[in-house]
């Protein structure tokens, strides 16, 4: 049934993924929360190609890859500019002014997919897709430096079927910097105090009880769960080389198909796994 996402059975289903190539400007100009080592562009590109390769080759998704735009150093992080749920896509108004133009390319590609497109036009609203956690039942929106109340309200107006709860996010860039969905009812969460606090908030706000998967590293808690018809539960998570302890935790998910993916370079500019893609489920065309 198409209605309301068909419940949890459909959670994680997707047919299409939108990604965007890395611009060279990323190395020097991408926004970053902490100064650190420079991004190795070549390595970053290899990792990204691998990422896209997994989505396309291994999982058989139709990957729509947008070309890089040198004027938009952060454009690889497509997640922040669109929130897609079922047939509706909300084009966001990213919190960082330098990123607002990223939306345009995304709009074109989503239009080509015949989604109902809602644009966030309110001048006072900001929302980064990285602050939006969709659990299959409801939305949690992190109120961070990048996302404000108004942005969350517009999200709530866009996806009226779902409860939208707000979660304060203080210490990290985005809500999804330390959590993500690792299964239909499973939230992967980092161990930091801030992460645990946010989880408590989410648990309190929700009528549902989620299972949680606590991983030692906050960054590793950002993983990608997909439900691919021929493959079942698929989980893209950070490679053991990067976060060995967290990887061990993921490896215990016996009924998930686990795909470790390295993301060492983009992580330097606050990039995580979910940041680099927007997933769309267009399978059930009537």
């Amino acid at each position: 049934m198409a209605g309301l996402g068909g419940g949890l059975a459909a959670f994680g289903r997707c047919t299409h993924a939108v990604v965007r190539a890395l611009p060279e400007s990323l190395c020097r100009q991408a926004l970053r929360s902490v100064a650190g080592p420079e991004v190795d562009l070549a390595r970053a590109e290899r990792e990204h190609q691998l990422y896209v390769g997994v989505l396309r080759g291994k999982l058989g998704l139709q990957v729509l890859e947008l070309p890089a735009d040198e004027s938009l150093p952060d454009c690889v992080f497509v997640e922040d500019v669109a929130v897609v749920c079922e047939e509706t896509a909300l084009l966001t108004r990213p919190g960082a002014p330098s990123r607002r133009k990223e939306v345009e390319a995304m709009k074109r590609v989503l239009e080509s997919l015949n989604l109902n497109i809602v644009e966030m036009v309110d001048e006072n609203a900001t929302l980064d897709g990285g602050d939006v956690l969709f659990t299959g039942r409801e939305f949690f929106v992190g109120l961070s430096k990048r996302t404000n109340q108004r942005g969350a309200e517009i999200l709530a107006d866009t996806f009226k079927d779902y409860a939208v709860s707000t979660v304060p996010v203080h210490d990290s860039l985005h809500l999804k910097s330390f959590c993500s969905m690792a299964g239909p009812n499973l939230i992967a969460i980092g161990s930091s105090e801030a992460a645990q606090k946010a989880l408590k908030t989410m648990q309190q706000m929700s009528d549902h009880r989620y299972d949680k998967l606590t991983v030692p590293d906050d960054a590793a808690a950002n993983c990608i769960y997909l439900n691919i018809p021929s493959k079942g539960h698929v989980l893209l998570h950070r490679a053991p080389e990067e976060y060995p302890e967290s990887a061990k935790v993921f490896e215990k998910l016996k009924d998930h198909m686990l795909i470790p993916i390295a993301n060492t370079e983009l992580e330097k500019v606050d990039g995580s796994l979910t940041c680099c893609s927007v997933f769309i489920n267009k399978a059930s065309e009537l």
Binding site: N116, R137, M205, D255
Partner: protein, 1052 residues
């Protein structure tokens, strides 16, 4: 990358292996849902319990009442002024002599006389004799009523003089109808409810209209004094609806303010001057509509939801609008037929607040895909999708938070949701909420401390006005009861002149209604689905924008039955529970209300100053005062203050000693209570000492005992008593009009709170107190005024103090509150189901959660993963019992045999030995220390490791509870008091064994705290205190049960 490949294949293999297993698991999961079953079992057990005594209840009251009423009046009548005799004696005698009688009936009587009194006030010129005559008429009427009701069919032979022939005819007609109803529903309540209708005098009927969900209008004539239940029953009958507990009748004060008609109260008192126009609506949205038994019920729910959607109350996305619309079409038009359904067939329907062409096209498109669905299936699909909407079943109320920010409070099946704009900013699940209350226009919730916190916090919200606050409070009380409890809570004990609503949800709970609907045995009724365009016409249900206030909490015939059930529940189940409790020392605290009673005892004096400003008409003060002087009143007043004449006869039953000991127990909790009040409050307790009366531990019966007293008191004062009682039956006092202020010197106006709403009650209270003490009216009058004024002056200060302290003191300031003793509620649930299992509270928690999950198809999806996850993940249940809770709920009966002496052994023994009176020999000492690892293999149950130690000391005197007590349980009472680190539950059971009565006081002291609290010392202190409180009693058994939560171990 090698790792990748490797892991992938492995994983694949794994998942393949798991594949079939998973598939196997799923159906099991789906079919089993253990919690659900359990709950059914439980409720069925309960329902059986409750159904047994029903017939007696049904038959006894009316016939007995009639015979008994006159002879019994003697005992008490000597204390009454002659003109009051009959009435008074009647009502007072009742509780004592007719224990089995329905409380409602009693209440009815009282109310009726109240209204008589009101009439008197309305025509002040009427002479006293006339009034008396009236009353006697009423009395006669009463009796006659009963005779009628006992005979049931007989037309009334002798109506009151003033009855008009016409009305008699009408009455007969109505009676016929009622008879039918009664037959169909077979409840006792209904009959009793109807009794007042046949009241002999001035029967007037009122036309009333009910807007139904399908947009049609139902109208009928109702007797003016009819209760909400009568109308609701009629409507449900008209609709052929059996599962009516989910529904209710609304009336609108204006387009915004909707009120639920309270089925247990007279309609006219709820809607006041408004026209009798109601809307039939869904009141409790079942979280899982597929669990409804009948299609017709689902149909009405669909109709309601369509209204909700079209009106925008239930927001949904474009896609959902289209989908739901298409199901509507399928249900009402059947399969899409290209010939019949021309292009615009859809625009006749309304699916969304703003329907577009595009949407209609989408609807049509989807409609085609539903080919073959029957109307009932289409409705089910509709509901399956609608129930997932986030605002499904959420009743929104405008409010402001403490900072004045506009928010919405949403009451739903699971708890209270807080929204700011469209965003959910907080949520308080029912298990988290300890107490809800309102005062003036503020609404408060007291929230269980979070895991790491020590104190409960009280959160206040500002509602637009007092009525709104009260409405919200009521809705919360009802939702909590309906969805969270197995059976309705008892209303709080009536206290003399106390405040606080006795309002409780009195209908059936969801558990009960499910149980009941399982018994529905009729062929699926035929009903016609009307076109939803009519629905769109009646849009958001606000008819005429007029109405007043009320609440439907009962549901018609079923509601009647529910009330019946309830009595029995408390009677039978309560008794059963007690016995059980006695046996296994599992002191399932019986009744929350009693708990409150204790508290109120503590606070009663203060509380009196907290009467809220009345929303009722203001009476000039003179009208009260002029009636203060007549002599008979004084008699009445003194009757009240020295209630001994009434009380003694009640106490001359074998267990008089027990009564006193009981008083003692409760006494120590009441500090600073004015004595008359104190004793008045105790009366119902005492009266329960007689075995006969015991059965009546129920709702309205307090009301009856108490109200009789307070009523007569007020009538002496020629108060319009009814105006003092608001529709919940609690007392509100009018403020003095501002004019009064002008009598005061301007300089004093600021300081003398003569217009304070508390002034009149304070004044009366002080007056009564003084009068009882000095027996002199002038004296009392002279002194009560300044005293009352000073009380009023102090009131705001006390209030602000207590509310600012935010802790327990707060309770005093609260006007109306419901304690959600969740543990108790849960224990109530689980004690029926699980025997002596130390995790049972969590169990019941889970039971509820299970239900949710089932409803949401959650289990299916998580089944496979969760099993694995369980091995290495800590799953945090949302209402996770914290340390405090866990300790508190651990039943004492749990004894674990262990090898080592416990750490606590030494000090404890010392303490208890030292403290025990000489009569007690410590005979048996069971010391156990077992580190229990409670690993529960259900997925949802958190793995909590606890260390429990139980030490039992027992005296030889009584063999504990081991002996199967064959005695008759006379009464039981549970009192709970709390301080920061200790919770004391006092459980008093009285048994009669072979003529010897025995009072057993079980005290459970739960000492909670972190490691730094010296438990042993606290325990010693507690034991000492307990001994001091009951010097005349001996300690027979001390069980020390220690439970420590071990740190969660790392799985790896």
């Amino acid at each position: 990358m090698t790792t990748e490949v490797g892991s992938e294949t492995e994983v694949k293999k794994d998942s393949e292996q798991l594949g079939p297993d998973k598939a196997k698991d799923k159906p099991e999961e789906a079919s089993e849902t253990p919690g659900d079953q359990k709950s059914r079992e439980t409720s069925s057990g309960e329902a059986q319990d409750s159904s047994v005594p029903a017939p007696t209840n049904q038959s006894s009251p009316s016939s007995q009442k009639k015979e008994k009423s006159s002879p019994e009046s003697k005992g008490i009548s000597r204390f009454l002024p002659p003109w009051l005799k009959k009435q008074k004696s009647y009502t007072l005698a009742e509780p004592k002599d007719e224990p089995k009688k329905k409380a409602t009936g009693e209440e009815q009587v009282v109310e009726e006389s109240e209204s008589q009194a009101l009439e008197g006030v309305a025509q002040p010129r009427k002479s006293l004799e006339e009034a008396t005559e009236n009353r006697q008429n009423a009395k006669a009427g009463d009796r006659e009523k009963h005779s009628i009701s006992s005979a049931e069919i007989q037309p009334s032979k002798e109506d009151g003089k003033e009855t008009e022939v016409e009305e008699v005819a009408e009455k007969k007609e109505e009676k016929q109808e009622e008879k039918r109803e009664t037959k169909e529903v077979q409840t006792a309540e209904i009959k009793i409810d109807n009794i007042p209708q046949k009241s002999p005098k001035k029967i007037k009927t009122v036309q009333c209209k009910v807007m139904l969900l399908d947009g049609t209008e139902y109208s009928c004539d109702l007797e003016k004094r009819a209760r909400g239940q009568v109308l609701f029953d009629k409507v449900c009958e008209h609709l052929n609806l059996l599962e009516k507990d989910y529904f209710g009748l609304l009336f609108y004060e204006n387009s915004e303010q909707k009120n639920w008609l309270d089925s247990s109260k007279e309609i006219k008192r709820q809607i006041r001057s408004l026209p009798w126009i109601f809307t039939f609506n869904v009141k409790f949205y079942p979280p899982d509509p597929s669990q409804l038994t009948e299609d017709i019920t689902r149909y009405f729910l669909c109709l309601q939801l369509r209204q909700d959607i079209v009106s925008g109350r239930l927001p949904c996305s474009f896609v959902t609008h289209a989908l739901l619309g298409s199901y509507t079409l399928q249900a009402e038009l059947g399969d899409h037929d290209p010939e019949e359904h021309s292009s615009d067939y859809i625009s006749e329907f309304q699916f969304a607040p703003n329907q577009t062409q595009e949407m209609e096209e989408k609807v049509a498109e989807l409609h085609k895909t539903h080919r073959g669905l029957t109307p009932a299936q289409a409705d089910s699909q509709f509901l399956e999708n609608a129930k997932r909407l986030s605002m499904y079943g959420v009743d929104l109320h405008h409010a402001k938070d403490s900072e004045g920010v506009d928010i919405m409070l949403g009451v739903c099946a699971n708890g209270l949701l807080i929204y700011k704009d469209r965003l959910r900013i907080n949520r308080f699940a029912w298990p988290k909420i300890l107490k809800i209350s309102y005062k003036r226009s503020n609404f408060y919730i007291k929230v269980r401390p979070a895991e790491l916190e020590q104190f409960e916090s009280t959160i206040g919200f500002k509602l637009p006005n007092h009525r709104a606050a009260k409405r919200l409070w009521k809705v919360c009380v009802e939702h909590h009861t309906f969805f969270r409890l197995l059976s309705p809570e008892q209303p709080p004990k009536a206290k003399f002149l106390t405040l606080g609503s006795k309002f409780r949800y009195s209908g059936r709970t969801q558990a009960q209604t499910r149980q009941a609907s399982n018994l529905i045995d009729r062929p699926a009724p035929y009903f016609e689905r009307t076109s939803s365009k009519r629905v769109s016409r009646s849009l958001d249900g606000a008819p005429m924008g007029i109405s007043d206030q009320s609440l439907v909490r009962d549901f018609s015939a079923t509601g009647g039955q529910a009330a019946g059930d309830k009595i029995i529940d408390l009677e039978a189940a309560g008794r059963a529970k007690l016995k059980e409790g006695g046996r296994e020392e599992d002191e399932s605290p019986l009744k929350t209300p009693q708990l409150e009673f204790t508290q109120d005892g503590k606070n009663s004096f203060l509380q009196l100053t907290h009467i809220h400003p009345s929303s009722l008409p203001i009476h000039p003060v003179s009208s009260h005062l002029t009636y203060l002087s007549p002599v008979p009143e004084i008699d009445m007043l003194s009757d009240i203050s020295e209630e001994d004449p009434f009380e003694e006869p009640l106490l001359t039953i074998p267990d008089i000693s027990e009564c006193s000991s009981m008083e003692q127990t409760s006494d120590h909790k009441k500090t600073g209570t004015a004595s008359p009040i104190n004793s008045l409050e105790l009366r119902p307790l005492a009266s329960r000492g007689s075995p006969a009366v015991e059965g009546k531990i129920r709702t309205n019966d307090y009301k009856s005992t108490e109200l009789c007293v307070s009523f007569s008191f007020f009538r002496c004062l020629s108060f319009s008593f009814r105006s003092l009682l608001d529709e919940d039956g609690y007392i509100t006092f009018p403020s003095l009009p501002d004019v009064c202020i002008s009598f005061l010197p301007p300089g004093l106006q600021h300081y003398i709170p003569i217009t304070s709403p508390s002034f009149i009650p304070s004044f009366l209270l002080v007056f009564v107190l003084l009068l009882s003490a000095f027996q002199s009216i002038p004296f009392s009058l002279t002194f009560s005024l300044p005293l009352a004024l000073s009380l009023c002056y102090l009131e705001p200060k006390v209030t602000s103090f207590s509310s600012s302290s935010g802790n327990d003191l707060n309770d005093k300031a609260e006007e109306e509150e419901v304690e959600y003793e969740e543990e108790e509620a849960q224990q109530k649930i689980s004690s029926l189901r699980v025997d002596g299992e130390n995790i049972y509270v969590r169990h019941s928690n889970l039971m509820l959660e299970d239900l949710d999950k089932t409803q949401d198809d959650l289990l299916k999806h998580q089944a496979s993963i969760s099993e694995l996850k369980r091995n290495f993940m800590e799953s945090t249940p949302e209402p996770r019992p914290n340390e405090w809770e866990k300790r508190r709920i651990t039943p004492l009966s749990l004894q674990t045999q262990g090898r080592h002496a416990s750490r606590a052994e030494g000090p404890c023994t010392g303490v208890s030995d030292a403290d025990k009176p000489p009569v007690v020999k410590t005979e048996m000492v069971t010391i156990s220390d077992a580190t229990q690892r409670t690993e529960i293999s259900t997925k949802e149950i958190p793995i909590v490791q606890t260390e429990t130690k139980t030490i039992t000391y027992e005296s030889s005197q009584l063999d504990g509870n081991a002996v199967g007590d064959t005695g008759v349980l006379v009464s039981a009472q549970t009192i709970t008091s709390e301080s920061i680190s200790t919770t004391t539950t006092t459980h008093i059971t009285k048994m009669v064994k072979g003529g010897v009565s025995e009072t057993r006081i079980e005290k459970r002291i739960v000492i909670t705290g972190d490691a730094d609290i010296d438990h042993d010392e606290a325990l010693a202190q507690a034991i000492k205190e307990a001994k001091e409180q009951h010097p005349d009693m001996s300690v027979t058994r001390v069980v020390v049960h220690k439970e420590t939560e071990l740190a969660e171990e790392d799985e790896d």
